[in-house]
Subunit: 329 residues, 2 copies
């Protein structure tokens, strides 16, 4: 089997399927800084492939690329604010999905790194604005003060407004070896994913739903498929777009990503009920306390788990042809 095909494991749903039971151990050790990972061209063969190592290595590479993506400038406070949130850690799942999809489609990691960083910038700016007093009014994120608590609301708004276009500028200026028409497709995909028909639309639908007494499953699906699903899908599809993947590949990856995105959300809802604080790394029961409609509240825990499992199996089916070595360019 081609070594490239083994890389599909990152896109394979095992990671998600096992998440519920193994949630107490962080997927990536944040202290991971092995010198062996400094070689950005290290590749994984089927024999050596280990998901944790793959995630840790790609995450390390993403951190390094993000570190270099925004340097300082005037006014300093703006750049500090942008960097504060962009470099605040996290799993870097979105950029890694983009890199993995590019590798799976036969592309080189370097082709996708600017887009991967751009995806993290878009994700970060959405969190910065989501944390604002006028929205979720959160004081902490990942154990650190939120951007507006450190820099003030005005700077947090403007730093988000600066990160968003910078994502697109970064793609155009930094991507090497990708034809212009493909880059335009990537830009269209990402801009769609964070706009009214994607992330922003999902956020507004979520805000609107808070006023409702009874939320139906269709609305809950709309919220999650837009608020988190659209950008996840853009991560997976953009990696393949950069390589010039054909329509069938793009469709398969799109369906894969949408199924996994929804399964992820369902499992997240279930964990909020079933997991302990130690397992979650955050206080459970938040949804119930906030009287928030969730999959378990609408379907029950058993049915929610069943639905998540079904979505994961459907997602895996989409990747089966990659495993058989088809679709490699």
């Amino acid at each position: 089997m081609n070594t490239k095909t083994s890389k599909q494991t990152i896109l394979n749903s095992e990671h998600y399927r096992t998440q519920e039971s193994s949630h107490k151990t962080k997927i990536i050790d944040t202290s991971f800084r092995s010198s062996t990972l400094k070689d950005t061209n290290t590749s994984f063969t089927e024999a050596t492939f280990n998901l944790s190592d793959y995630l840790a290595q790609r995450r390390y590479q993403v951190e390094a690329a993000l570190e270099g993506s925004i340097t300082s400038g005037y006014p300093e406070k703006l750049y500090e604010s942008m960097r504060y949130s962009l470099m605040a850690g996290g799993k870097r799942l979105r950029p890694i999905l983009c890199l993995a999809s590019c590798e799976l489609s036969g592309g080189a990691l370097e082709m996708a790194m600017p887009t991967a960083c751009a995806l993290e910038m878009l994700h970060t700016m959405s969190l910065m604005h989501d944390d604002l007093p006028a929205l979720d009014n959160d004081d902490y994120r990942r154990g650190k003060l939120t951007n507006h608590k450190v820099y003030g609301e005005n700077i947090a708004i403007l730093a988000g407004d600066a990160l968003l276009p910078y994502a697109f500028e970064h793609i155009v200026v930094q991507t090497k070896g990708v034809p212009a028409d493909r880059l335009l497709q990537v830009i269209a995909k990402l801009s769609h994913a964070v706009g009214a028909r994607g992330l922003a639309g999902g956020q507004v639908a979520d805000l609107e739903s808070e006023k409702l007494q009874n939320l139906d499953l269709a609305t809950l699906n709309f919220i999650h498929s837009h608020k988190t699903g659209a950008l996840l899908e853009a991560c997976v599809v953009s990696g393949a777009l950069l390589v010039g993947a054909n329509d069938e590949v793009l469709q398969r990856l799109s369906r894969y990503a949408r199924n996994i995105g929804l399964a992820f959300q369902i499992i997240d809802d279930v964990l909020d009920i079933t997991a302990t604080k130690e397992q979650l790394g955050k206080t459970p029961g938040k949804d119930e306390k906030a009287l928030k409609a969730t999959y378990p509240s609408l379907l029950g825990i058993h049915e929610s788990r069943f639905q998540a499992q079904k979505l994961i199996e459907e997602a895996k089916k989409e990747l089966a042809p990659f495993e058989r070595g088809l679709f490699l360019l």
Copy 2:
């Protein structure tokens, strides 16, 4: 003389030079809706060229294009909020500058219309966020309630966040007949102009300057060249980029736009002191009341007028070769 060359008049600084003395008549009659303007291909020859007619016609075309750029969708409130600010009127100076620059460089109007609309979307979202309580806290803009006063702060933030990426999506999806590499240059130009090294940077520098007792001329120039100048420059340059103008043309248009942008700001500051409420259409003396550093406060009125005039003359010089029919593709 080629008819195209006469179109440089819109970019000619006469418009700005006469603005101070004729400010009581609005540059464009907002009720202008002549049926003769419905032909989007109407061109102006040197003999028939009239600046007011040109501006009115292009504005009408921009309004029509903006009207069609965002239709309704779910959640309705988000689309309503986006349209509320985008369709709130104004001179549409930024999109018109882009169209004029495209025409001047020998391009067809249609090539530049999606970029022209995108520029207005970017400008609009910056105003929506600038009006927020955490920033300028304005209740009214152009005689209408500001976005957050109608839809709430949360929606105003998210609608701005949705308009920004939509500008880029609109360029990619709607532009016809322009090679992909040129579109990428336009996207890089616009994203740079509204980011940390452009508009957002200027806004933060402006916020920071409010805390200072004494503002120097260099900082004042930085604020204006970034807060308003960068996007104006992007308007003028992007129109020529779409046509594939050469470096000399781009450099000339860039210098032209930067000079005119600064002259515009200086005149605006002078008018705040010298003009009446009737002439301005808004309350004068606002800067002095807010103890804001302005060009007249740093240079005096006489020197400010002299500097503005000098900038306008330098700007005109940049356009001289166009008048002689050079640079036409």
